[in-house]
């Protein structure tokens, strides 16, 4: 069976670190960074990238539209 794999790209300097994507992700892919962006916010990043299924839940939840979602079938 084809395996679906996803990845997200976060617009780091647009992110306000609200963490809604982190809670929305069904695969626990995302976390907030230790470092901060230009605005002083910790930003979302893929802590466990191998678990991403490209479902876009994170991007739907992001109030600021910071997340691009990619998906492939292997």
């Amino acid at each position: 069976m084809a395996k679906v794999k996803g990845a997200v790209e976060v617009d780091v300097n647009r992110c306000k670190g609200c963490e809604l994507c982190v809670f929305a992700c069904p695969s626990k892919v995302l976390a907030l960074s230790q470092s901060v962006n230009d605005k002083g916010y910790a930003y979302a990043y893929m802590k466990q990238p191998e678990l991403c299924i490209g479902c876009a839940s994170c991007a739907y939840m992001c109030p600021d539209g910071c997340i691009k979602v990619y998906k492939i079938k292997e």
Partner: protein, 252 residues
């Protein structure tokens, strides 16, 4: 590994091109941004970018015109339905909608809202009900829940003193002029998708001349409620949804 996934041909989702690149002034996690994104997606998918007119509110969304790339008019507080009435009557071929908070729509603008709905103006009203005046520092609004603390009822809303929380969408559903009244939310990805569908339907009703559509979004103002964005969503589920029940109120 991710490097070969992240390629233009594999892109499945990104913000609508109608959401401008400037950073929205909203507090981190504010539901206004999510609703703006869904409105932009619907307008883009309907191909109506050059044929949409929005009446913006006074409230936190006062700068909506800076974020969604369509023609907008900034209304005086509560007067968006009156502005939208004029715009739709003069330009019946345009998609016309208002975007209003609970203070704007159900307090100072209650008269405009009721009468636009009663006249059955062919407009869509996007109503963000966060039960508080967000912009001015979290004062009580008509939709503040009983017992809910705000800066003007620090011990909680007392119905003997402040009256009952108002389900204005249910009142509007009683009016002959409304064709579609629904209550949605954006606290989960599934809920965001449902809200988008409701906005699409309201916008299509405006174009079809069916009457007034109201999409209420029961929303969180995490800053005003003094919670983290995620906590505010849990609070919403626990406290707002039992009173402001989600789902269609009217669909004719």
């Amino acid at each position: 590994m991710n490097n070969n996934i992240i390629a233009p041909e594999n892109l499945v989702y990104q913000k609508s091109s109608l959401v401008k690149d400037n950073v929205m002034h909203y507090c981190p996690g504010c539901n206004h941004g999510t609703v703006h994104r869904m409105i932009a997606e619907v307008i883009e998918e309907m191909g109506m970018q050059d044929n949409t007119l929005c009446a913006c509110p006074v409230g936190c969304a006062v700068f909506l015109y800076k974020y969604i790339d369509v023609d907008t008019v900034e209304s005086a507080h509560g007067r968006a339905p009156a502005i939208a009435t004029a715009m739709k009557r003069l330009h019946p071929d345009k998609l016309v909608f208002t975007y209003q908070g609970d203070g704007d729509l159900s307090a100072i603008g209650a008269g405009e809202t009721l009468h636009a709905c009663n006249r059955g103006e062919n407009i869509a009203i996007i109503f963000i009900n966060n039960a508080i005046y967000g912009m001015t520092g979290g004062q009580m609004s008509p939709s503040t829940l009983e017992g809910m603390k705000t800066s003007t009822c620090p011990y909680g809303r007392d119905v003997a003193l402040n009256g009952y929380p108002m389900k204005i969408a249910n009142v509007l559903a009683e009016l002959e002029g409304t064709c579609y009244v629904t209550r949605q939310s954006v606290h989960t990805a599934a809920a965001v998708r449902k809200t988008k569908k409701a906005i699409r339907k309201a916008f299509e009703n405006s174009m079809a001349g069916k009457g007034t559509s109201i999409v209420e979004i029961v929303a969180a103002c995490n800053a005003g409620w003094k919670m983290s964005p995620h906590e505010a969503h849990l609070w919403l589920e626990e406290n707002m949804f039992p009173f402001y029940q989600l789902g269609d109120i009217k669909d004719k």
